[in-house]
Homo-oligomer: 355 residues x 2
Amino acid sequence: MDSGIKRPGVTSSEVARRAGVSQSAVSRTFTPGASIAPKTRAKVLAAAKELGYRPNAIARSLITNKSRIIAVVMAYLENLFYPDVLEELGRQLAAQNYRLLLFTGSMARDSDPVFDQIMQYRVDGIILASTSLSSELSEECAAAGIPVVLFNRTTERDAVSSVTTRNREGGRRIGEFLLAGGHRRFGYIAGLETSSTNRDRYAGFAEALAEGGHTDIAIGTGNYSRADAEAAAREMLALPDRPDALFVANDHMAVAVMDVARYEFGLSIPQDLSIVGYDDVGPARWTSYGITTMSQPLKRMVDATVDILMEQISSGEIEAEHRILSGELVVRTSARVPESGVVEIDGRRVFKPKG
Amino acid sequence: MDSGIKRPGVTSSEVARRAGVSQSAVSRTFTPGASIAPKTRAKVLAAAKELGYRPNAIARSLITNKSRIIAVVMAYLENLFYPDVLEELGRQLAAQNYRLLLFTGSMARDSDPVFDQIMQYRVDGIILASTSLSSELSEECAAAGIPVVLFNRTTERDAVSSVTTRNREGGRRIGEFLLAGGHRRFGYIAGLETSSTNRDRYAGFAEALAEGGHTDIAIGTGNYSRADAEAAAREMLALPDRPDALFVANDHMAVAVMDVARYEFGLSIPQDLSIVGYDDVGPARWTSYGITTMSQPLKRMVDATVDILMEQISSGEIEAEHRILSGELVVRTSARVPESGVVEIDGRRVFKPKG
DNA sequence: AACATTTTTGCATTCGTATGCAATACGGTT
DNA sequence: AACCGTATTGCATACGAATGCAAAAATGTT
């Protein structure tokens, strides 16, 4: 029962004994770039295989002071955008030989207790995707030399890095699009009112409408949750002169709003009501919804996030960096299409006014 | 710059010095149940707070030989069922004071390389949710004393624990339901043909239909993926005498099939075509789809999974355990409703034939 | 007050690996 | 064969916390 069957606690010393070398030699065999003779290395590898040895990442972390673990905090996964992000993060972190420690479930809403866990595991980096961190804690991270990246959100104090898209421009583009579509009464279903993302999207939207001479916008709050969005939609669509154009702060809520509009109010979309969303998440592309939406370049956002992290980890310099990407307004069937400004790019219809 | 500001590598020894006690005392302060005088404890806590000390989980793991980390392997998150599972797992594991190391992204499809990572981190348990593990590897885990639980799948060799639902009975119930609805031509859109879940669901379905005198079932393969399911639906619905009743192996695919049926073939559901799914995942409840589906009791499945894990971890005994739960056939609008057998429970309509 | 018990404490060691340093082996030159 | 430079190797120690053990302190008993 020694060859083939692998015992739990095979250590480098056991392998060393078996191979007739020192423990150091074993360590060096498994450390890329270490000084080790090919012949010795071969002996060690043979012994290791026989015993089923695998380096103990815990012990390694202890001495190298690098865990090769990235903490990802995502309070909720209800919105498919986040699972998609998570999957891409998993792919990219694995490619960089990092592991992903996930914090999710409601407890992550208040990130402070989670934070303690994160610190205890001496993670090499932190990605905050649907939760924020008190500025106090982000300072603590900076002090501890742990890079933090906010994904799809920012804070006023720009002490912590972030990856976002041009939400304000996105909101503005949506406003222009709906104006160009000849709508008269506008509504906005908000996400979490405290989130920077929501604030910016609305600001851009209101700006564009104001320029078109519209200053009254019906407002409901969906808190990025399906249930709240439905409630907000019910209220708004029951208004005496209900909007004929709705900007919903993300697709996840837009889907809910469409269902309410169609099946509870019997409205035809887009004949009676135009709806525009944000994110371009899976269901937005499903034929039943076909949501016209501002896309967020998920892959490039993840690229940027991992990039910032890797750079800060390797350099040891934690200087807040803000990457801001652009999406495009993908035109589908949930909103009336303007006469002009819609162009076709790579088989996708996109709203690009003017030049 | 010493009080308040927290340095990275505060160790228990530093805290000990500050508090005027031994390192052991510090350790005991942070070890529940250890022998420590309240007075000493208070001194230590004060010093710890001052210095911003947090126990180093890595070092602790090394000596206790317990990482308090559970590895979760989920190859893909496209199907919302899995993010929901993940969120609940996050909640429950956190409640038990365990961390969740997530392996996702395509690389997890072939679990063997992932496995190496898992072993290196000396995780306390493994949950395999949308990937399998070669029997060789599961044996290795058993030998290493690491509990493994298959979530929503099984293997023939029952050496490894699993949590599933009665897929065969579920398939059978769906067959009965569609027969009771008076359908004549049946189709099945399969998941991954290698998966136990798919096999069992189909077996039960075919069984029920056979008892009703129907032995020819049109079959397409969706591989649990949206794109494949769409292709399979296109093919099947173009058949000269296309089915009037379709069992789609999960809701994620059923949604895609509905879109194809409605918008590419102009079919009315359920007038022209009845569709039944499996899982009762979010979109199945959305009004646009209203999928009649076999529910899987997600929360109870996660309960069982965590329960098995905790039990095996604490006992050290790894004896394969198989928990099999039941769901119910939730009746919505995507399939013709039989004259009898549909009852209302807690506001949900459920198909419960006979007694 | 003297002794017996119990609680608390510190010492020293351990977990498994990485690494600076000095010692050794190896390869090539002359 | 003697020598030098480089490539390998082993030794010893460090990482940060947990814990068995024995010493010390606190508590209780008579």
